[in-house]
């Protein structure tokens, strides 16, 4: 690979990284797992003057649950860390299911959760799960920290709400109100392909009643589709064939797919509906079994 010439820094603290970003006035790019940035450098689609490699900031390599159930994912947490995590296995089924479907096993060993969210690919898996789970991104700038709600974070395809001198240091997932259930399904032509369509569903349940419902879609719009409003028809209800059908219809309507070589707009919308139905029916079945 022969990218354009760039300068390279490898800071060991967040403060140092932010200072470098601040000094370079938008000409520097953060390198974490590199699974999207490095291919763009290779193709010279991106030619930043400076790379700020954060892989030496060991303090960012974590994911943990706070005592109140808040999940915190540091900027160096790899996809693979979540795929094999004992921490999220039971508490965060939506994330756990998505983790095994992100790209391919090679990418998962290096790519990071936070980096993927920042990349804001409309077909990205993690952005969809973050929206469904009502997550937030913690940004560190020269003047301190701020939290950005995920629904405000992605501003368009491949663009996010970070200022040039801010580093996304952590993703935060709030605790469930009740029992967290959910799922993630993705249709791809091959492992590692971009999604033809994928669906993230995250529900909080009190007994058999849905107390909070989150949903987002990838691959079926110009950016990650926030379908939280569409799925809110389930709140206060139990999962029945009728309520599932109504939610699936509403969510499919929220999709905004285009016809391309992965399929027609109608097909992609149909897949969204099918996947929502499958996830919700699966939850209903396992809840029945548990009861």
């Amino acid at each position: 690979m022969y990218p354009s010439r760039f300068a390279y820094d490898a800071p060991t603290t967040v403060a140092e990284a932010v200072a470098i970003l601040d000094r370079n006035g938008g000409e520097a790019k953060v390198l974490a797992g590199g699974q999207s940035l490095v291919p763009m450098l290779k193709l010279r689609f991106a030619s930043p003057e400076r790379l700020v490699d954060i892989n030496n900031i060991k303090a960012l390599d974590y994911h943990r649950l706070d005592p109140d159930g808040t999940l915190r994912i540091g900027a160096l947490c790899r996809h693979e860390d979540l795929e094999f995590s004992e921490i999220i296995k039971d508490s965060h089924p939506t994330l756990a299911q998505a983790a095994a479907l992100v790209a391919d096993p090679i990418v998962r060993t290096r790519g990071t959760f936070v980096g993927s969210v920042c990349h804001a690919d409309p077909q990205g898996d993690w952005a969809a799960t973050m929206i469904a789970l009502d997550g937030r991104i913690v940004a560190q700038g020269p003047n301190g920290r701020r939290e950005i709600a995920m629904r405000d974070f992605v501003s368009g395809p491949f663009t996010n709400a970070l200022a040039y001198n801010e580093l996304a240091v952590e993703a935060v997932i709030p605790p469930a109100k009740g029992k967290a259930v959910g799922g993630y399904l993705k249709l791809e032509r091959r492992v590692g392909d971009f999604a033809t369509a994928s669906v993230a569903v995250a529900l909080d349940m009190n007994g058999d009643v849905v107390t909070r419902a989150g949903c987002a879609l990838a691959g079926v719009g110009g950016k990650t589709i926030d379908a939280n409003e569409a799925i809110s028809v389930l709140v206060g209800k139990t999962l029945t064939a009728e309520s599932i059908e109504a939610a699936a219809e509403a969510i499919a309507d929220a999709a905004d797919p285009r016809t391309d070589h992965r399929g027609s707009a109608d097909y992609k919308r149909h897949i969204v509906k099918t996947f929502v139905t499958r996830i919700l029916s699966g939850i209903a079945r396992s809840e029945q079994k548990a009861a």
Binding site: Y2, R44, R189, R190, D260, H261, R262, G263, Y267
Partner: protein, 792 residues
């Protein structure tokens, strides 16, 4: 006591691949690993558009980049008569564009610099002014009377048609159709695919003005043909050209043609008097080098009610891109398409073919098939599938009626091929039993109850592998024989060289096994070397599954020459006449006195230390082998799939492959070849294609668009064997390298079609992506052609 052949790594031993010792340690030596003193680096500027007139090229800014040594354009090449070069199909191809660019990715300029970063930087500073022309991206557009003329550089080329070609007996075929009870018709498209070896193409040209010698390290499957081609194109004497093809990271046909990059690097080295390295990137490889397929078919079978095929008609329309650069034997315009239906007893057949220029990359190589045989057999098996349905006959029964029977060999096909051996019915029976064909109907019913659709698909075929013979097969007039040279050293160790060129097939392992079989020298004592034209005997290289049928035969023949000489030496050592000598593996002995003998190693020592009077010393020889016929392996592939009707997603439940490639030299390597081929077949059936938008932009120029299957989605394969030795091959072997790629795709497609054709759909063109299968299920209509690039 004769040696135990399996213990010395002879025929039939699943000997570990000796080349893997270096590959798995990262110690392979590919072209890009070669570093020569003073070496410069070359980068090619490619056309961003598919069809445009070049108004101007300004290289000023590129020359100004520090470290740039040379900038070449079509004009520079033309001044040395190198702007165009001949192709392997008697056409011409632009080396660097002069007048027009004719496909996206075409070579427009080259920068030679101190390092590859500088070369790339400087390339981006070349300013080319294009005047856009309409792009032609398929044969239908090419035939439009108002279509722009793509090859306006050629005299007497008034249209975009390249050729009309036909073979067979039209009148007899027409009569067969007139007598038919049922005529079955299908229209198909075999989409454009790409061999996509993991290592792209590249070269290092090193011209030494002092000696006048040109050495080129090159990614080539056919070093000697390249030497001849370079001699013709660059007008250098052949003895002053040395082509070295080091380790190759796969080829699959992609590394047979001569590419512009090779030629440019050679001129650059002559001009700079420095070694010049050119290594293509992956996108460059996908967008500009030899592709496979891109053929449309109209096929018809004339059938009798009882299932007998009376006649077959095919019309193919092929898309060759901007230059007719197919790598194929001279006599044939559409490769060996007429090998279609060779496995079936078809009394009358007629094939017509039309080829067209389009604004797409040239190359039409046989992507892991023996010259368009992949298309020939896919069309055949899709036609067979449709015909069985049209007759209301069982798929297996219909094939049984028509397969050539064991007692019909040698069998002359309607197109004139001579197939010589096989047990076609037995192969099919083994496959059907392994897949559980008898109980499939019940299984299918059971699956319907849980909302799934099961399908079973059969593909049976024989294919012509191992071109020549030399009477009928040549490339640019060079006859298609092959060669082997064996030098047995005085300690009984040996070096073997052939004119073939391994690129993953494992020649270093299997050739030694043939020698072990013939001479009893342990395979571990034999080193195999290929790819250096200064040391290897002349050969046509490795493609079309021809290595074992041709070069492998030469290996056996040269070993037999060595054995004949060793016999004379043995007689001398044993002090008996030659007629009283008997041979067993590894040893000569006196007839009637088995105790008295000498080993092949004893003879080797004596060849250098104690030769009889009148015999030349040494134990070396060379053999050139001109095969009397092609070899005809047979395969029966049966696939069982489950389709999810709600999504169109299909999964392979079981795949059974029964291959009869005659005698297997190294069963493990043969099985590896079959598994690799089936993986490629699965890829083409399920996900793989290159298409173009209306402006001629290539969709498939990177691995996010052009999909290679991984171990995750590739199904498992169950392999079986039937052995019918080739009657004319010295060790009874037939080609195998390409069978699975050739016969595999139809098994997958027929299986999926079998699962969904209750809706009335007759065909879904490859790739069978879930959305296309779903569409067919919903509408009951055929899904034809390429997936749309963009919509709405």
């Amino acid at each position: 006591m004769a040696l135990d052949e399996l213990k010395i790594g002879g025929m039939g031993a699943s000997r570990r691949r000796v080349e893997d010792n270096r590959f798995i340690r990262g110690k392979g030596r590919y072209v890009d690993d070669v570093v020569l003193p003073g070496m410069l680096h070359m980068e090619i500027l490619r056309s961003p558009v598919a069809h445009a007139r070049i108004k101007s090229i300004d290289t000023t800014a590129a020359w100004e980049v520090p470290g740039v040594r040379l900038v070449l354009t079509g004009e520079t090449m033309a001044a040395r008569n190198l702007a165009w070069m001949p192709t392997l199909s008697y056409d011409t191809q632009a080396v660097l564009a002069t007048d027009k660019v004719r496909f996206q990715g075409q070579e427009v300029a080259a920068v030679i610099a101190d390092d590859p970063y500088i070369a790339k930087d400087a390339c981006s500073r070349i300013v080319v002014e294009y005047e856009s022309l309409p792009a032609i991206v398929n044969p239908v557009q090419a035939q439009d009377p108002n279509a722009p003329l793509i090859r306006d550089d050629k005299e007497n080329q008034a249209t975009n048609k390249i050729f009309d070609w036909e073979i067979g007996d039209k009148e007899a075929t027409d009569r067969a159709f007139a007598e038919a009870d049922v005529v079955s018709t299908v229209d198909l498209h075999y989409p454009r695919s790409h061999p996509s070896p993991l290592e792209p193409c590249g070269s290092i040209a090193d011209y030494d003005r002092a000696t006048g010698k040109l050495t080129v390290y090159m990614t080539t499957q056919a070093p000697h043909i390249i030497r001849a081609a370079v001699s013709l194109v660059a007008e250098l004497p052949e003895h002053m050209i040395r082509i070295i093809s080091p380790d190759l990271g796969g080829g699959f046909g992609n590394k047979v043609p001569v590419y512009p990059g090779y030629v440019i690097s050679i001129l650059a080295s002559i001009l700079t008097e420095r070694p010049v390295k050119w290594i293509e990137d992956k996108s460059g490889n996908l967008i500009s080098t030899g592709f496979g397929r891109d053929v449309y078919l109209q096929g018809q079978l004339a059938l009798r009610k009882d299932g007998k095929i009376l006649g077959m008609r095919m019309h193919t329309v092929s898309d060759h891109g901007a230059f007719y650069a197919d790598a194929q034997p001279t006599k044939f315009k559409i490769g060996l398409m007429h090998s279609t239906f060779a496995a079936y007893d078809v009394p009358a057949a007629h094939l017509t073919s039309e080829g067209f220029y389009t604004n797409k990359a040239p190359g039409g190589v046989a992507y892991r098939c023996s010259f368009r045989v992949t298309e020939a057999m896919f069309f055949q098996e899709r036609m067979m599938h449709a015909a069985a349905n049209d007759l209301g006959m069982d798929q297996a029964d219909f094939r049984r009626v028509n397969l050539v029977k064991d007692d019909m060999f040698p069998y002359r096909t309607a197109f004139g091929f001579l197939t010589d051996s096989g047990q076609y019915g037995k192969c099919l029976d083994v496959a059907l039993e392994a897949i559980g064909y008898d109980t499939f109907k019940e299984e299918q019913e059971e699956a319907r109850k849980r909302g799934k659709l099961l399908g079973i698909g059969i593909s049976t075929m024989t294919e012509p592998l191992g071109a020549g013979n030399s009477r009928e097969y040549d490339i640019l007039g060079i006859k298609m024989f092959d060669s082997a040279e064996l030098r047995v050293h005085m300690t009984g160790k040996a070096i073997l060289r052939t004119g073939a060129k391994t690129q993953g097939q494992g020649h270093e392992t299997t050739w030694a096994q043939i020698v072990a079989h013939e001479l009893g020298i342990p395979a571990d004592d034999i080193v195999v070397e290929e790819g250096d034209t200064d040391t290897a005997p002349f050969g046509m290289g490795t493609y079309a599954s021809r290595s074992t049928p041709v070069a492998g035969a030469a290996v056996a023949m040269v070993a037999r020459k060595i054995r004949a000489k060793a016999r004379k030496i043995a007689a001398h050592l044993l002090e008996v006449s030659e007629e009283d000598i008997e041979w067993e593996l590894g040893r000569f002995y006196v007839r009637g006195n088995e105790e008295r003998g000498v080993t092949i190693q004893d003879c080797a020592l004596a060849a250098y230390s104690n030769v009889p009077d009148g015999l030349e010393p040494g134990l070396e020889n060379v053999a050139y082998y001109d095969p009397p016929n092609l070899t005809w392996p047979f395969a029966a592939y049966v696939c069982k799939v489950e389709v999810d009707p709600q999504t169109g997603v299909w999964d392979v439940l079981k795949f059974v492959a029964v291959d009869d490639c005659g005698v297997r030299i190294n069963p493990m390597i043969v099985e590896g070849q079959i598994m690799g081929g089936l993986t490629e077949a699965y890829a083409m059936a399920s996900m793989q294609y290159i298409t173009f938008d209306e402006e001629g932009n290539c969709i498939g120029s990177n691995y996010m668009d052009y999909l290679l299957p991984t171990a995750w989605e590739t199904p498992g394969f169950e392999l079986h064997e039937v052995v019918t030795p080739c009657p004319h091959h010295p060790i009874g072997a037939k080609g195998i390298g390409e069978c699975a790629t050739v016969g595999g795709p139809a098994a997958f497609v027929n299986a999926v079609m079998n699962a969904i054709e209750h809706t009335g759909v007759r065909n879904v063109d490859m790739p069978l992506m879930p959305n296309r299968v779903y569409e067919a299920l919903q509408t009951g209509q055929n899904v034809s052609g390429m997936p749309p690039v963009k919509g709405d």
